[in-house]
Symmetry: C2
Subunit: 98 residues, 2 copies
């Protein structure tokens, strides 16, 4: 079981991730990315994929052509899944990769 | 403008793709795939991505961990986008990669 962030922790974390939106229904964060073309988008995804596998924490993501929509939540945080520090770490890494 | 498949063409094509579902609202086909783990799923996606880029015809897809959901339609087929031979070719290639 992973610790779910409380309100204060979540607000502090989101303040450092201005591009990310909070979904209170799912207790998840998401961001939409747009690239020059498909290969740029997929190259970005591949860098994220390798990091995610190393961290053993994987994104939910949708891609069509140059668009990549990423949602982060932790399935084993809280009772029904929710935002944890692992999501914040992955979001920060994604920003760095960008 | 790419030619949209008519009913007979679509039915003949779908008969060769038993795992794929037809969405009449979007005039699109989709299939859900499940792999052993994330690296298996992402390796599959990467093979599809390289083929899609070569064919200049890209999937809409969603991935979370070992699940990959793929939807195929052609944005410049018909008036509002629809199924074309390019989708059938990509679906057949995906089956081959699998």
């Amino acid at each position: 079981m992973v610790a779910q962030l409380n309100d204060a922790e979540r607000q502090a974390a989101l303040a450092t991730l201005p591009g990310w939106e909070y979904d209170s229904k799912r207790d998840a964060i998401s961001r939409k990315f747009k690239f020059a073309d498909f290969t740029e988008a997929y190259a970005f995804m591949t860098r994220v994929a390798i990091y995610a596998e190393k961290a053993d924490h994987h994104p939910e993501w949708f891609n069509v052509y140059n668009n990549v929509d990423i949602t982060l939540t932790t399935h084993d945080a809280g009772e029904n899944g929710g935002l944890s520090q692992r999501d914040i770490d992955l979001a920060m890494k994604i920003e760095e990769i960008l």
